[in-house]
Amino acid sequence: MNSDYRMSVVVRTITRLTYGLIIVFGFYVIMHGHLTPGGGFQGGAVVSSAFALLLVAFGSAGLKGRVNRHWFQTLEEVGAIFFLALGLFGIGTAFFFNLFANNPGVPFGQSVPFGPNSGAVSTAGTLPWMNWAVGLKVLTGLTSVVIAMLIGGRKEERE
């Protein structure tokens, strides 16, 4: 598994075409976590699968320019702290209290009618923010796991 390992032309062209779409779809899943069955973790996994696809198709060269491991690690920490900060915002009444829900002034503040509804985007208070925080964390975390596995697997090139 030397570093200039690359897949066949077919795989490389398809990867070049689709990895942008996968990333966009991943972010879509993260964004609408509070409405659709998606959410932070699933969306993050989809996006990191795009990076894994790049890795498989182009070997480690594929990610050379795009992903800097240390930068990803700090992003992961930022995502985690953002999630916890959201939990602490509502500490006045209780930990993880949904402060923003049900007061229209705030971006995601509209109240949700009980029972089946057509699903307005700006509802569910702190939940969308939490989804984004978790999505960011999983996205960077999973990608650095994939990269670590690749580098770990190769004996001679220790990063």
């Binding site: 916890l84 500490i91 930990f95």
Partner: protein, 522 residues
């Protein structure tokens, strides 16, 4: 600040978790700032634990309920009219406070020890992220009142513990130990999840108090009890499933081993919570009691006898820790059997078993830390190639003696105070139990005599390094633990009355109060 007092249970988890995520970022500013930051986080967590204890012991023992994310409403009126608690709740009674105190004490000392112990090793940031994550998960394990939340914290401890065991990946045996321990933890976690699934399918609720009131003892409940018993028993290192424990404690860095012992004690607490509270009304106490007594005897005996064989200092102490878990099980098993018939003796055994938890956590933590200092000075772990460290490491050898005598239950120290209760309680049930317990304590003293003689006495082997005294940064936490050991030893009455009796009473007699605190609301 006083406005945050009602939120202490949640802050107890949020502060170390925030510390765990901030550690790598603060680490970028340099090692000493990061160490200071981690020490601050550990101190604040310990202060929160003390605050929780003070606040709880004042409020005449009714469990504190802390509902996540909602001030009041926890039971949404479902259309079917059935109202069950749906939010994740932290429920804290005297037993939880007792366990939180143990965790706060040992993690604080182990954390302070690790600053100096791991100074010359790379990868410090990630070590402290995992260390604080492990602390958070153990505290969460001991505070939560929701069974699935208990499972999630159980899994976080598994992942964080195995990350720390295999931390020194360049060593030949650490990854192997971490792999084995992780496989066993995953297996245990999965069966606990299966049990939770069964209980949820059967009763529709995940809250421990709700389950305690809903369980009727059908076949499904018994099967779920089996999975929970085996899963948590394995994480608490009861004998037939103990084989991962010497690998885990032996290969992990010294401060991590001390915290791992507290981790198995937290799983032991989980086992007690399942048996006493959730299955309290239904369980066949005599059968369960005799089963635990049998398990305890085997754990004590095998733990001590195999400890005699070891030639690796840390594995020797690991087997010693294993047999101490047996004493806790013995105390509780005897209580389960005798309390229905002779309540006062059974209660004494229960107090002994629970008091032994904090004593053992302090002694074993002290022993692992002193062993870590000795190994760092001698450069090797093999007993045959160490020796004569006492010439230079005076204070460490004295602390090792204190820890060893306390663990073996020699009178002036705290080990004896709790074992005294266990001996008396188990003698009532059947003299044979007390005989095995006393003999094993003596054998344990012999084991630590061997360790002390091999490590500290005799001439330094030729060609070995001089082995200077441990630096101050490592001595202070050891002295703190030794102070706890001696303090609990000289004034057991004070501590038993303050924290152990309420814990034992909460565990045995407090089941209805535990359920009423949650379900009494409507």
């Amino acid at each position: 600040m006083t406005a945050l007092v009602p939120h202490v249970p949640a802050l107890l988890i949020a502060v170390p978790l925030l510390g765990a995520f901030l550690a790598p970022i603060v680490g970028k500013l340099g090692r000493t700032t990061r160490n200071g930051f981690v020490a601050l986080v550990l101190l604040v967590t310990a202060a929160l634990a003390a605050l929780l204890a003070v606040r709880f012991l004042g409020s005449n023992g009714s469990p504190i309920l802390y509902v996540m994310g909602g001030p009041d409403g926890f039971a949404v009126p479902l259309p079917s009219g059935m109202a069950t608690p749906i939010r994740i709740m932290f429920e804290i009674d005297a037993m939880n406070v007792f366990m939180v105190l143990i965790t706060a004490l040992v993690t604080l000392c182990a954390g302070l020890f690790s600053f100096r112990y791991l100074r010359d090793r790379s990868g410090g940031d990630l070590f402290y992220a995992l260390f604080l994550l492990l602390t958070t998960a153990i505290l969460g394990l001991e505070v939560t009142g929701d069974l699935f939340n208990f499972f999630v914290f159980l899994e976080i401890t598994s992942i964080a513990a195995c990350g720390l065991i295999g931390f020194q990946a360049w060593q030949k045996r650490a990854p192997e130990a971490a792999y084995k321990v992780m496989t066993m933890y995953t297996l245990a976690g999965i069966f606990v999840l299966l049990a939770i699934g069964l209980l949820y399918a059967e009763h529709g609720g995940l809250n421990m108090a709700y389950l305690a009131s809903a369980i009727r003892g059908s076949v499904v409940d018994q099967v779920a009890l089996t999975f929970l018993f085996v899963g948590l028993g394995m994480k608490a290192a009861a004998v037939p499933l103990h084989m991962w424990a010497p690998d885990a404690y032996g290969e992990a860095p010294a401060p991590v081993s001390a915290v791992l012992v507290v981790n198995s004690q937290a799983s032991l607490y989980g086992l007690f919570r399942v048996m006493f509270t959730i299955y309290g009304g239904v369980a066949n106490a005599v059968l369960l009691g005799w089963l635990i007594v049998a398990l305890a005897l085997v754990t004590i005996f095998v733990g001590v006898t195999v400890a005699l064989l070891q030639n690796d200092l840390k594995r020797l102490i690991a087997y010693g820790a294993l047999s101490q878990i047996g004493y806790m099980l013995l105390g509780v098993g005897v209580a389960l059997v005798t309390i229905p018939t002779k309540p006062d003796f059974g209660f004494v055994a229960l107090q002994g078993g629970i008091f032994h938890m904090i004593n053992d956590a302090a002694c074993i933590g002290l022993l692992f830390l002193t062993a870590g200092a000795a190994i760092r000075a001698a450069g090797t772990r093999d007993l045959n190639r160490m020796g004569g460290l006492a010439h230079t490491m005076r204070l460490t050898s004295v602390l090792f003696i204190v820890g060893a005598l306390a663990l073996a239950g020699i009178p002036p120290f705290n080990g004896f105070a709790s074992k005294f209760l266990i001996y008396e309680g188990s003698f009532q049930l059947n003299p044979f139990l007390a005989v095995v317990a006393v003999l094993s304590s003596i054998l344990l003293l012999a084991v630590f005599l061997k360790a002390f003689q091999a490590v500290f006495l005799g001439p330094r082997p030729e060609g070995a390094s001089v082995g200077g005294e441990a630096p101050l940064g490592m001595l202070v936490p050891m002295v703190v633990l030794a102070a706890v050991v001696i303090g609990f030893g000289l004034f057991p009455g004070f501590f038993v009355e303050r924290i152990v009796t309420p814990a034992a009473r909460a565990l045995w007699y407090g089941r209805d109060a535990y359920i009423h605190a949650v379900l009494g609301g409507f």
